[in-house]
Amino acid sequence: MGYLNGFKVTFARLFEDRVTTEFPAEKRPKPVRFHGRHVLNRHEDGMEKCIGCELCAGVCPAKCIHVRGADNPLADPVSPGERYGFVYEINYLRCIHCDLCVEACPTEAITESKILEFSFTNRDDAIYTKDELVVDDEGRPRHQPWELWMEGEDEHLSGWMRATAPSGAAAFEGRVGWSGDLGHGVRSPERGQTGSEELDGDVENEPEAGR
């Protein structure tokens, strides 16, 4: 009886695990590569990584990033370079989290955290300025009142794109190309195709320079 077979299926489902997570109370773990709201990182010595080059603003397809660079004050430099990001704003009403800014950033200053649970009630809150974006003195993203944070969510800022090299060259996979982050230091990148054993040593068959 074809009419009745379906009842077995629905009945069997009664005894399966529920897949729903009770969202505000509990979040499911997010993968390492997750694209959340951005953070501006700082070097281990507390200097800002952003050098105000505006590459992120240039590549942004949604035109949601606004950067202005300024010369570093000699007495109290903000970044190790000649210039630093004087104005840095992201309009999250436009951001599409495509991660092109992260790929474009030559200093890994901007990365994406795993916070996606942020909802604002006015347009002002949606525009994050440097005050909100730069990590705090312990290297954590700053917790805004309208963001829902869970324990340990600030642990992994998105470092994967840096580790796996946007060039797509297998030889560079797993090769760390950045300095340590404030509070996090140098974290181990993904293993990639080459496997873990080759991670720490020099990469063999390095492609010739001059690319």
Partner: protein, 178 residues
């Protein structure tokens, strides 16, 4: 209605990739990117002939506005027009594709409709009309399709003026100019 799936012998596919068939019109590209360039007058005739040759499905029909890029590469004997209508035809049995590119003048671009032969072009022609203002004569229902019926202008034309609203930033003096 039962029908055997059309199994196409390999040799047909092999044959199609070699050589450019002569249709009496200039051609460019090769293989899957083969394009024929008829005149607006010879357009319908060419499509008819291609239909008989087996290009029975009209996959796509679109317009292009070449304003600001007039000196493009075109085969000998084809005079560039501002607009171009590109028709993408597919031969399901021979596994061949051909594009038909028709040059249209800036003033009053019009073409005969393909809907009599390829009824599926109805929506595509409406879209091309909507976006470029190319008129397809004989089309049963040449009205705007994506835009509201009372819209003015044809937005995919290069000279369609786009409005713009500056992205809001907290530092608007510097942010507004992008």
């Amino acid at each position: 209605m039962t029908e055997e799936p059309q199994v196409v012998p390999d040799e047909v596919a092999a044959e199609s990739s070699s050589g450019v068939p002569d249709h009496g019109v200039p051609s460019s590209g090769e293989g899957r990117q083969l394009a024929l360039h008829p005149t607006a007058e010879g357009y319908l005739d060419l499509i008819e002939r291609l239909y008989d040759e087996g290009y029975v499905m009209c996959v796509d029909l679109l317009g292009v506005d070449y304003l600001g890029h007039p000196d493009r590469k075109l085969p000998e004997g084809v005079a560039a027009g501002r607009f171009e209508v590109v028709v993408n035809l597919l031969d399901l049995e021979g596994h061949r594709r051909v594009r038909v590119r028709v040059q249209l003048p800036e003033n009053d671009p019009r073409l005969p409709t393909l809907t009599g032969l390829h009824p599926g072009t109805e929506a595509m022609e409406r879209e091309t009309y909507d976006m470029f203002g190319v008129v397809f004569e004989g089309h049963p229902d040449l009205t705007r399709i994506l835009l509201p019926e009372d819209w003015e202008g044809h937005p995919l034309r290069k000279d369609f003026s786009l409005g713009r609203i500056p992205v809001q930033f907290k530092n608007p003096v510097q942010g507004g100019d992008r």
